[in-house]
Symmetry: C2
Subunit: 120 residues, 2 copies
DNA sequence: GCTACACTTCGGTAGATGGCGAAGTGAGTT
DNA sequence: AACTCACTTCGCCATCTACCGAAGTGTAGC
């Protein structure tokens, strides 16, 4: 029950859902998600922690960078199913589409440049 | 997106999930859910309103009684899928099982008696 | 070692949420 | 009409949550 509730809670907040949807096309660096969501680094970080604790995403650390991606390790069947349903339900969502468009630009920018950007 | 978030939010609270699960075996009067959940009538009422607005359940009024049941009218495919997943995920849940046991007793009691019970 | 940098954790604030009892609503009863 | 009763809505309070900036952590480079 608690695991199920944690999954639902993780997916009941708009910016977390946007972050999850953004990972469909591959892992993203935290600074890329900061740029996408337009939130403070600390806020994005805690959102990702919630998604991670729910088992929806996993982290990969590489030097000073941290990349998040969809958890494809051994995860509860329920979490996997809920995640799939979310993708299905929001496939045509306008916000998700716009994020996908912006992401294709964001992915082309060097990470260093992105980080300088939100420091201003 | 907003509809999806409303569905997730509705299912991210323990007592609401318990209420939804309780309706799997047929409609229940509000007073039966008050007895099951052990909450104040006003609290149960607002939980049911949230479930109803999310499209997960519907209401049937009969005189002074109000019965809630799973919404089997025309409802968004997403809501239906999420609800099915919830049932599947929680089929073996201990809390849900205990509620089901208690419910079989509660269903046998006359509604009048139940209402007198929580008025004390 | 020291600095710079990316990210996380902490502390605090404004707004949302779950809880209850009191008051309101509407149907049945006398 | 007046009353009763089941339920809902309202008003309030305690707790939780999303947000930010500041401080902390760990890595890379000088």
């Amino acid at each position: 029950m608690d695991e199920f509730l944690a999954t639902m809670k993780a997916l009941s907040e708009k910016n977390r859902v946007r972050a999850l949807m953004a990972l469909r096309n591959g892992e993203l660096c935290v600074c890329q998600m900061i740029e996408l969501l337009g939130l403070a680094p600390s806020t994005v970080s805690s959102h990702m922690t919630i998604l991670r604790r729910a088992g929806l995403v996993e982290i990969r650390r590489d030097g000073k960078w941290a990349y998040y991606r969809l958890n494809d390790g051994p995860l509860a069947a329920c979490v996997l199913k809920v995640r799939e349903i979310a993708f299905e339900c929001l496939a045509a969502d306008e916000q998700a589409r716009e994020d996908a468009r912006r992401l294709s630009s964001v992915r082309e920018m060097p990470l260093e440049e992105l980080c300088r950007h939100y420091k201003n």
